[in-house]
């Protein structure tokens, strides 16, 4: 699941390893931090993943998953993608 800003892909959230791991990937070198979120569903709050620690360089944050619904958020002014089921 990706989020675009000014028609440029800014961040991507994925899962891999049979849904074992949530990936939060920064895709643009603008200094804005990116991380994936997961949501178990109402009435619980969404849970943030780790910040992608290396910005737009190769490599992502990889956290154990806790839910099947996720999205990617990038710091203001980019914002978040919609929620997606894996």
């Amino acid at each position: 699941m990706g989020v675009h800003y000014s028609s440029i892909l800014r961040g991507v959230a994925c899962t891999h390893g049979g849904h074992q791991y949530l990936d939060g990937c920064d895709r643009y070198a603008d200094g804005l931090k990116a991380r994936a979120w997961e949501w178990i569903g109402y009435p619980f709050d969404p849970v943030p993943g780790s910040w992608d620690p290396n910005g737009a360089n190769s490599g992502c944050a990889n956290d154990p998953t806790i839910a099947v619904v996720h999205r990617i958020c990038v710091e203001h002014p980019v914002g978040c993608s919609g929620w997606k089921d894996t």
């Binding site: 049979g18 849904h19 895709r27 178990i40 619980f44 944050a61 154990p64 839910a67 099947v68 089921d85």
Partner: protein, 226 residues
């Protein structure tokens, strides 16, 4: 799943939620270039990962215990290739590091954290995992990589005494050390540095302010409403 007890007391809700979201069109996902790893899903709802045992390809570097987090394990692996809409967002073969809670306290939303690739400054990199127990005690486990010469890692803050942890040997094929340090979630202006065996600070002063936000958020959930 034990680690979700405090956060999701009715796991069956997930089984209800997913079909609901599917019916709303909130479907599809991001492609992974690799097939699912052995180990699979933690339960029939697919609500979370079972990371109590290392997955194939993961190597345990060290184990330890922290007061709130309980036993933890730090693992190394190499990355899987991840592709999103034909764009490679993570190549295969990067060095990865992950901290995993072996008996996560109820109230801790996530049983581990990690990342792949190079990060940080001058060989010093930091990640974080917030933890909270049922009584509302919260802590943050800071962890990461340090240069091969680092004997310890030190965290300083404007509102706390300096805290140090000895580094741990990294993977045999990686010229780096690893480290884990438990800190309170309310650190102001935290900075991370590494220290030589002679006690000299390297002067890196890695800004860790953003690594406190999940811990603060978690700790705030334990505070009584005004």
């Amino acid at each position: 799943m034990q680690w979700l007890e405090g956060h999701m007391r009715q796991p069956a809700q997930t089984a209800i939620l997913v079909p609901l979201l599917l019916s709303l069109g909130l479907v599809a996902g991001c492609g992974s270039a690799n097939q699912p790893a052995a180990g699979g899903l933690a339960d029939s709802t697919g609500a979370g990962a079972d990371v109590s045992q290392p997955a194939p390809g993961e190597r345990t570097l060290a184990r330890g215990t922290s007061p709130v987090a309980g036993p933890w394990e730090i693992r190394a692996s190499t990355s899987e290739r991840i592709v999103y809409e034909d764009e490679e967002v993570q190549p295969a073969g990067l060095d990865c590091i992950m901290l995993v809670l072996l008996d996560p306290p109820a109230g801790t939303p996530r049983p581990g954290a990690g990342a792949c690739g190079e990060f940080g400054e001058n060989g010093l990199g930091a990640l974080e995992l917030p933890v909270m127990d049922r009584s509302g005690r919260a802590q943050v486990l800071l962890f990461g990589r340090a240069p091969a010469r680092a004997a310890a890692v030190e965290v300083t803050a404007s509102n706390a005494e300096p805290m140090r942890a000895h580094t741990i040997a990294g993977p045999v094929d990686v010229d780096a050390r690893t480290w884990v340090l438990t800190v309170p979630p309310g650190l102001q202006q935290p900075r991370i540095d590494w220290v030589t065996a002679e006690g000299a600070r390297a002067g890196t002063r890695l800004d860790a302010s953003h690594l406190m936000d999940r811990g603060r958020r978690l700790a705030a959930t334990a505070e009584p409403n005004p």
